[in-house]
């Protein structure tokens, strides 16, 4: 095979196989896979949220039944695990965002730490807002 102007012609290259279970080889890779797994928590809760709204829509009995399920140990444990994953998602997401986002004010680049701080500030505001909406 010809690669542009660089030729591949050496016959004796040793090509190591990439390990199938590569992601348990390093803590950083495990963390990466965990980060990617947060998407399961995200979709889990998206479904629960929709069911929650549907239960309200279906009337007080349906809602009561759903609330009862929410109180079951199974549901509580599922939610607890999902909660940790969601927080992990939020943190990794906000921490990595400055890498992709470059904001200019005039000719100057806004520094990563400022963007980071803005992200967390928004998170706090949204969280407080949601609490206010549902508990008052």
């Amino acid at each position: 095979m010809t690669y542009g102007r660089y030729q591949k012609y050496h016959p004796w290259l040793y090509e190591p196989r990439f390990p199938i279970l590569w992601w348990i080889k390093k803590w950083a890779y495990i963390r990466f896979i965990l980060r990617e797994m947060t998407s399961l928590a995200v979709v889990f809760y998206a479904v629960v949220l929709l069911l929650y709204v549907n239960a309200v829509s279906d009337g007080p009995e349906a809602f009561a039944a759903f609330t009862a399920w929410l109180k079951s140990p199974l549901s509580i444990s599922l939610h607890a695990v999902a909660f940790f994953f969601l927080v992990f998602h939020s943190i990794t997401w906000f921490n990595l965002a400055p890498k992709a986002m470059v904001i200019h004010i005039g000719a100057k680049k806004v520094s990563g730490s400022v963007i980071l701080a803005m992200n967390y500030l928004t998170w706090v505001v949204v969280t407080v807002g949601l609490f206010w909406l549902l508990t008052f």
Binding site: R5, Y6, H10, W12
Partner: protein, 587 residues
Amino acid sequence: MPVHDVVIVGGGGAGLRAAIAVTETDPSLEVALVSKVYPMRSHTVAAEGGAAAVIKDHDSFENHIFDTISGGDWLVDQDAIELFVNEAPNELVQLEHWGCPWSREPDGKVAVRPFGGMKKERTWYAADKTGFHMLHSLFQTSLKYPGIVPYDEWFATTLLIHDGRCQGVAALEQRTGRVEVIAGRSVIICTGGAGKVYPFTTNGAIKTGDGMSMAYRAGVPLKDMEFVQYHPTGLPGTGILITEAARGEGGILVNSDGYRYLQDYNLGQPLDVSDSNHPVKKSMELGPRDRLSQAFIHEQRKGRTIKGKFGDVVYLDVRHLGEKIIDQKIPFVRELASKYAGIDPVHEPIPVRPVLHYFMGGIDTDKTGSTSLPGLYAAGEVACVSINGANRLGSNSLTELLVFGARAGRAAAQFALEQSPTELAPLRKQVVDEDERITKSYLTKEGGTERISTIRTEMRDTMEDGAGIYRSEEGLKNTCNKLAELRDRFSNISLDDRSLTYNTELISVLELDAMLDVAEAVAHSARARKESRGSHQRTDHPVRDDDSYLMHSMAYKGDGAPKIDYKDVVITRWPPGERVYGQEQAE
């Protein structure tokens, strides 16, 4: 296809610039770019401080010319330096157009900084990784020319000469071990210097003088080889360079008493570091390298240096610049000092000592880079044009790569266009012989008891002992004898590795062979020059002697010792005078 139009050996700054010059002269010309390492690994990558060229209004060509001539102790060819200084700004602008990230002034113009031995600030820089940025800009730009054919990790072993002219090289492909013809109607050697001939050097592993040796063996003389530059500020132990830019930005040198000792060596009077005129150009820490390195030896003899784990040192102090300037202007200095000397220059002074840095001498060329062998050109540190004389001024070398790289490229292109097509058969025959020589002397050889590392270490030590900063007849004689002995023992060498694939031990032995040639040329040229000039200081002949030695030495390879001859220096408008430093404030 082993037949090209121009063959360039060396993918450093000079080789890349030459390659681009060839294809730009005539895009139909095909250039083989042969390099023993991937071009971006070439040692140009390590240059830190900057490249000199006059562009600011407060400066003039005249200044740059004169600084260089006096810096080189009048051993500079004045026609060459004039042309160099004139062409320098365009070359650096060209590199700017090719993307080199030069450091800038607030208004967007290129910024300049002061360097040793320079009357005005005229050194362009890219923070303190100038060589790195220049090399990468050149290499990446070179990729856009389809006419440049890379031979990466091919090691050139000898020149192919046929019909009285140089028509290519024999080269060993490191990954397969095959020795092949790489033919062209002209050849440019750009293989850089030979710092590895000495034990303690700023140079990387690849600077082994291969190109010098190839030309030398082909009968081309090596010019001014006795002039080797010691840089005053290397890190003890490793020899890693702390750039002159550290002093250009205001760093000072002090001895064990905290005293700025340079004032005792006719280099002017120090201003306080808080003085707005500090650092004063061409004075104190901004004196030329030869004088600063020599001053260190005197301090050492007076017992005023500091004892360190790796021998005596003095301190380079940049603390007063403050963290901000250090991080902005010389971040690499901070990185290197922290990593390799374990100190943070923001808070502590940096231990330094003189270290072998640069070869002023090299393959004798004229202003177009051509040598006495038709079809053979040379440029860069490997060549001696000569614009560096007896002592190179810092930051002239990077510019030299560009100016003379381009000139050699154009001249070699022109030459190639005028020649008849290459006949491959006779060259092939020479390469078969070369292959056999290498195989027989190293790969299939029986017996042999010497190790590469033993001979290499002894060579380096004897060079430092006899051909270091201060030299004498006695010391040089010993060194010459020792080198002859090592040459003898070299024929008894034996390799552990007999394989073909990436046999790096084979490369080492070929490099050692070349280094022994270079060492011999240096020692014998030094022994013959019975005067002191620039970097060549003889304790037994302490003064400059223009009557007998205002001449370039020319070392020719002989059967035993080299033959040393001389050639006139070109003097046009600047008659030999006294080198004056530190007096500028009095003007």
